[in-house]
Structure formats: C-alpha cells, structure tokens
C-alpha cells in the first residue's frame, strides 16, 4: 500500500491525523515555524495516526528541532555575515521533453520572477516544440534551446546565459517552496561558499516504486545546516553534500574550477554524476559547499519500478564513471578507498544475502541494479570521452 505524506507544525498542539484510508504508513514532515526539522515514517492504524504516535514520532526529531527552536528564540542566523549585499539569482531548469512536469515546476518558481530574479528554461536537444510551448506560457520565463544533448551541457549553457551572481538549479520534476531561493542565496555571504544545496523531499509516495526509491536512495541529507569545507573535508566524499536537483552555484565558479564536465550525467553514456563531479572540484580547490535544509524542494520520484531501476542503475554508472575520471585525470586515489567502502557497506551485504539466503527482494534488485551500473561505469566514462572527442 502507498505512503501518505503529511506536514506537522510543532509550534501548534499535536493532534491525530485522520482519513488515511488506502495508506499503510505515513511520512510525517515536522516543521518548527515553517522550517523542516525532521521526518518520520509512522504506520497507519485504522486509517489514522493517533496523537500518542505523533508525539513519539516528534520526539525522534531530537536535537535538530531543539536547535531550530533555540535559533528562533534568540534570533540567530548562522548564515548571517556583516556587510552582505543583496545577490541576484537566476533559476535554471534544464529539461528534455517533459512538459507535463515542467508546467508544474514553472508554476512553483514563477513567484521568484516577481522578486526580480530571472527564470531560465534550457531545452536540451528537443525533438518537439512542446517545451517551448509550455515555457512561453509564462510571462517571465526565458526559453533557451541547447541542441547538444547532455544535462551538463545544459547546465553549462545556463551558467553562460546567466548574468546574475548566483545560478540556482532545480529539476523539471521538482517543486521548490517559496522560501527556497532566499534560503539558498543566504549561504553565499561568506565568499568561500561557492555552492549551496538544499533539502529535497518526495512530493508523493503513491506507488511501490516511489517508496522503494525513497528507501534506497533518499535525497534528504539531514535537517541541520552543514558546511563542507575543502580545507578539511575529503573532497571525493560528496555523497552527503546534496544533488543537482536542488543546488545553487556562484556564477564565477566556472572561472575558478572549470565548467561542468560534459562527459558526465544524463544524455551521455555515464547517465549521472555530473553534479557530484562539480562538487568534488569545488572542494578540491579549497572552497566550501553549504547544505542548508531551509531550502526545501519537493521532488516527483519516478512512478514505475522499471524507471526507478533504470535510475538506480544510472546512479551506479555515473558514480563509477566519475571515479574513473577522477582517478585517471586528477590522481584522486582516494576514490579507490571510497569505491571499496561503498561496495562493502551497500552492495556486498546484498550480494551475500542473495547467495546464501534466497531470491532477491524488490529492494535488493534495485541495489543490484545499482551495482551493475557501477560495474559499467568505467566503460561508460571511456565511451563518453570518445563521444565528446568526436564532437
């Protein structure tokens, strides 16, 4: 059965949640005065969740909720610095033939144009004019066609087209909240911060495939702001940093560390990894990336099992393709240790279970699809490099 998603405001008295017929469990997203401070899966009993279960779930939010209360009570914002000037931003949406999703995303981001920010739709290697038609329905949206396929090609085009201080990327199947952009921009007061990422939550978990995706590879990276610092942190460990579906970069970053690697990510044999490879270069150059859960975006996960399996396989391909490039071109030998650690913690237990304990479950099939992708990653990197050289 499906999972319902409900938001709970902790500054108001907790009460039971009713009318959950058809759901076996519920993802409770807890907020303290609009800021998300935690999330918990709670079983649905008799089509409802009672107050006691809510209280137990709320208690699991622990220190994150208390820190938020403290910051709110004393009026403290850790991102604040002296003399911050207002930064301008472009919201970039890289898309390819998904007008039904794009129209919702544009509906969600249109409000940012009213605040003076620019909205850019990069239509990547279109085969129809449906994206153009959707984009031009919105008055303040700037449509750009990028004929060369590749998500990173489209990202680079967005960085070139933008004239603002910051370029914020959202996927064409995501719904950023009204505070999303301001929350991302607030992290750039410190000149060392070159990139900010935000909290991505599922917009629905109506199908089993969506539930599995959320279980195996959730986008959420916690509920407290974390600054990853290239001076101290291992630059190749970027799994916790965030994802390209919810990130903003200073426009100048491409002058400092180079553009997105166009051999990586969607539209190429490597399928993904283009955002993480950029994170690695930002950290390796000694800059910082801020993960800020105040920047909330709701993501529409793929609905069918096959789509989710392909996505997971693509993640495996992308990560190992990225590792291959980092190893061969940047001598980042640390990726070997990381690849082993990932295999040992995520893939090896599943392989062992499958060999000794019977047939795979649907979850383990996804993990094994990811592993297959990993095995294909190095070859995909070489294939992508050849393709790029030919272009």
């Amino acid at each position: 059965m499906a999972t319902a998603i409900r938001e709970v405001e902790l500054s108001s008295p907790l009460s039971s949640i009713e009318h959950l017929k058809g759901y076996s469990r519920c993802l409770l997203v807890f907020r303290w005065r609009r800021r998300v401070v935690g999330r918990q899966f709670v079983p649905v009993v008799s089509d409802r969740i009672d107050t006691a279960a809510m209280e137990i779930a709320a208690n699991q939010c622990g220190a994150d909720a208390l820190y938020r209360w403290l910051a709110d009570t004393i009026g403290y914002d850790e991102r604040q610095v002296v003399g911050t000037r207002a930064l301008t931003a472009t919201i970039a949406i890289c898309t390819r033939e998904r007008p039904e999703h794009l129209v919702r995303t544009l509906g969600a981001v249109a409000r940012f144009a009213e605040a003076g920010h620019r909205i850019l739709v990069i239509d990547n290697a279109p085969t129809t004019n449906r994206t153009y038609e959707v984009a031009t329905q919105f008055r303040d949206v700037c449509y750009v066609c990028e004929p060369i396929p590749g998500l990173n090609v489209a990202r680079n085009r967005a960085m070139r087209e933008a004239t603002t201080d910051v370029v914020a990327f959202t996927d064409d199947d995501a719904m950023p909240e009204p505070e999303w952009l301001d929350a991302l921009i607030a992290n750039f007061g410190d000149p060392r911060v070159q990139c900010a990422t935000g909290l991505t939550l599922p917009i629905e978990l109506e199908t089993e495939a969506q539930e599995l995706f959320e279980e195996v590879t959730p986008f959420a990276r916690g509920f407290r702001r974390v600054v990853f610092d290239g001076q101290h942190d291992n630059p190749v460990e970027v799994g916790r940093v965030g994802a390209g579906a919810n990130m903003a970069l200073r426009r100048e970053i491409i002058d400092l560390v180079g553009p997105f690697d166009e051999r990586l990510d969607g539209g190429t044999p490597t399928c993904s990894g283009g955002d993480h490879e950029m994170f690695v270069r930002i950290l390796a150059a000694g800059y910082q990336i801020a993960y800020d859960p105040a920047a909330v975006s709701w993501h529409h996960h793929r609905r069918t099992y096959r789509e989710v399996r392909d996505t997971l396989r693509g993640y495996g391909v992308g990560v190992y393709a990225m590792f291959t490039g980092l190893l061969l071109e940047r001598h980042e030998f640390g990726v070997l240790r990381l690849a082993w650690a990932w295999f040992r913690s995520a893939h090896l237990p599943e392989l062992r279970r499958r060999v000794f304990h019977g047939p795979p479950t649907r979850t383990s099939s996804l993990i094994l699809a990811e592993l297959q992708g990993c095995a294909h990653g190095p070859a995909a990197w070489f294939a992508s490099r050849r393709l790029r050289a030919r272009r």
């Binding site: 208390l66 004393i74 291992n234």
Partner: protein, 435 residues
C-alpha cells in the same frame, strides 16, 4: 570627523613591480572629500624601487622614503611619522585595493569613534597545487570570525596588511614595536584593545592580496612567529593561554622524529625536516592530501617550536614563562537569561564587562572569565555566544525552567551529556599557517 584626509603608508622590500601595481590602483580610487597622500617606505630595497618611484608621477601626492633594512614595523612607524593626514591607512605592498576602499574606510571612521578598520583581503595566490589551496584557505579563514555580526574582537584580529586608524590614536599608542620581526600587529592589537579602541572588520573595503609566498618562506616565517610569541608572552604573560604555544599539538610521525632528533642536536632535526619536505610533492602526485597536510603541519609546527625554543631557552623556561599569567579576577557581572535576550544585551551594552556569568533562573549556564587581549563584552556578542558556545547549557536551563514548548522533543542524550555549567577558556589565536 568631517572629511578626513588619508595618509596611506606602504612599507616595501624589493618588490618594485608589486608596489607600482598598488600605486596604480591608488590612482584609480573613487574620490574622497579630504583626498590622500601615499608614503612608500623602501626598507632596505636593492632592486631600484625608490629610483623607479621617484622617476614616476602616479598622479597624486606620493613621498618615497628609504631606510636600511629594519623590518616592516619600523618602516610603518617611519611612514606614519612622515604622515600629514588625519587617518593612517596601512597597506602592504602586495595589496591591490579596489576603487572604493578609501571611501569605505572614510565611512567607517565617520561612524565609529576610536576605530581601527580592518579591510578585507581577497587572496590571489601564486602557489598552485595543495599548497596554493591551503594558503588561500588560510587567508580566507582570517576573516571567518570577523564576518560574524556577533564576533568579539581580539588582538589577533588586527591585520596590518590592510587597516586604518586615526593618526593621533596611532601616536597615542606609540606606534608598532619595531623590535618584533613578526606578530607586530598582534602586539599593536593588544595595546589598542587595552586602550579601549574598537576593532572592526570593514567588508566593503576590499582589496586583492597578491600572495606570492612559497613553502620555504612560510617555514622561515614560522620560526619568526615562535620567537615573536615568546616576546609577546614575556611582555603580556596573560596572552600565553591564547597562543599556540600553550597547547602542545599532537605531532605526526615526521614531527615526532624531528623533535627527537632536535632534542639530541637541533641541527639533526633541521636536516631531517629539510629532507622530509620532499615527501610533499610525492604525496601530492598521488593525491594523498591528508598525508600531505599532516606532513606540512609537522613541518610548520617544528619550525614554530624551534622558534619558541630559540627565544625561550628551553621547555622549563617556557613553562615558567607561561606560569607567570596573572590569576583570574572576580567575575564582573551576572546576568539572568530568563529575563530575555534583549534585556541581557542591554545590560552588556551598559556595563561592557570583561567577564560575566550567565544564569537562567536558578541554573548557572556558563561563566565567561576575563580574556586578556579581547574587547570588553557588548550586547551584540550574546546571541553568537549562546548559539556557538553554550547552546546545550542554555537548552538544558530553558528545559528545566519549563520554557521549551511542549510539542518539541525532550532533550536527547547528546545534549544532556554536555549541559554542565562550565567555564569557557580563551579562544585559540587564529589558525597559524603563514604571515
């Protein structure tokens, strides 16, 4: 102060191209009502700096003085003695100020009485590879704390590479201590804070800092830093606790071996670390940045401690020196945070205490003893301190008083294990890579 005139003092040593770049940038400054003069002090220059500058008209009043090599502190004093402006702006010769730097300093001094304005130095590092990354990061980290609105300034925040103060105040302070070859800015910062001057970071006063330091120069400077820190503690014993010498950091393999060899004979240690430097390019090639950093840290620490040993005479003498610190004084003020943050801030602004004890109803939350070399507390420091220094104690006290709303979680173990009232020890001096 209305329409102050600036005297820009630039000490330089054999960097005629750099100082020329600086003067060109000064010629492109946005006009300030009082105008400015530049005083370049060529300190033991043998590269024809003075001749080139005298033969060139930068388009504004520019005096070139020469002196035998005496160090930057003496050069700055000489330039300041020659100054006729109301405000002294000290700039190092490898600085390239942006066009609105003078305007930003002028606005600061109009706003803040008895102020020392510290400008932002945006690093443009020549070194590449891991060292370039770490050097740029180190420079940026200099401003990390000063950027926070609630930062409590201390003597180590003064950066003479880009700072301004009233000429009369500089004269009152007696100028830089020219006997120091390093950390002369710490020393002036200490006296300025003791005299009640207000150090402030001016983010709008931005200049590019063309940092050309290489590793060998950095290591040499660490020896000088060690010597200077001993001199500082000899003069101001209470500062010992805030300097790296008060904490023997855990050395890596290279550091431990070097220390053992140096204990037998300092020359053995010196020879060993000279050889150990060649580990760095090897580690860099194979991307082992953490090994690389560990070795660099060991080398820097080695030379810092060699400087300490050289100046203090040995570990027993150093221990005696550190034990000279005066005993802590009585806590000056007690504040109840249960009365509200705004009320506590107001009290801090009224009393400007050196030390304070915070309570929350019946609970002692935290004690902040006097910190020598730090400015007296202001209200603006409070929120920053709660959030970053005693959040757990505050949460515990608030929970005990029943002030945390009922819908929020109970205090988790992580907080309960760290909620005992304690004393906050002096902060470390800024991260020490290179000056």
């Amino acid at each position: 102060m209305g329409e102050p005139r600036f005297s820009i003092v630039v000490p330089t040593h054999n960097r005629r191209d750099a100082v020329t770049r600086l003067l060109v940038a000064l010629g492109q400054q946005d006009p300030v009502p009082g105008g400015f003069e530049a005083i370049v002090v060529a300190d033991g220059c043998t590269d024809g700096t003075a001749e080139r500058l005298r033969a060139w008209d930068p388009g504004f009043a520019c005096v070139v003085l020469e002196q035998p090599a005496s160090g930057p502190a003496a050069a700055r004093n000489r330039g300041a003695a020659h100054a006729t402006g109301d405000i002294l702006l000290f700039l190092d010769d490898d600085i390239e100020p942006r066009a609105d730097v003078l305007r930003a300093h002028a606005a600061f001094h109009t706003e803040v009485a008895d102020g020392i304005g510290i400008g932002y130095l945006q690093p443009a590092v020549t070194a590449d590879g891991f060292f370039g990354v770490i050097l740029r990061g180190w420079w940026e980290s200099m401003f990390e704390e000063s950027r926070r609105p609630g930062h409590r300034y201390q003597y180590t925040d003064l950066l003479t590479g880009h700072c301004s103060l009233e000429r009369r105040a500089f004269e009152r302070l007696g100028g830089f201590d020219a006997t120091l070859r390093s950390h002369e800015d710490y020393e002036l910062g200490y006296r300025a804070i003791a005299a009640g001057m207000n150090l402030r970071f001016i983010p709008d006063a931005a200049a590019v800092h063309h940092e050309a330091s290489q590793l060998s120069k950095t290591l040499r400077r660490k020896f000088d830093d060690g010597v200077a820190d001993v001199r500082l503690v000899q003069r101001y014993p209470a500062l010992g606790a805030s300097l790296p010498m008060a904490r023997m950091s855990e050395a890596g393999r290279v550091g431990k071996l070097a220390a053992r060899l140096a204990a037998i004979n300092p020359r053995y240690g010196d020879l060993f670390v000279a050889g150990a430097r060649y580990l760095l390019p090897m580690y860099e090639w194979i991307g082992l940045r953490f090994r690389w950093r560990a070795v660099l840290e060991d080398l820097l620490n080695y030379w810092y401690w060699r400087g300490i040993a050289h100046a203090s005479g040995g570990k027993h003498q150093l221990a005696a020196l550190l034990s000279n610190a005066p005993p802590p004084r009585e806590i000056e003020l007690e504040l109840d945070l249960a009365d509200g943050i705004a009320a506590a801030e107001k009290q801090l602004d009224e009393h400007r205490p050196r030390s304070v004890r915070f309570v929350y109803g019946e609970h002692v939350v935290i004690t902040l003893p006097e910190r020598d070399g730090a400015e007296r507390l202001r209200g603006v420091h409070l929120r920053e301190m709660i959030a970053r220094q005693f959040a757990h104690q505050y949460l515990f006290a608030a929970a005990s008083a029943g002030d945390i709303p009922p819908g929020l979680p109970a205090l988790p173990d992580k907080i309960l294990k760290d909620c005992e009232p304690r004393e906050i020890t002096p902060q470390r001096a800024r991260p020490a890579l290179v000056r």
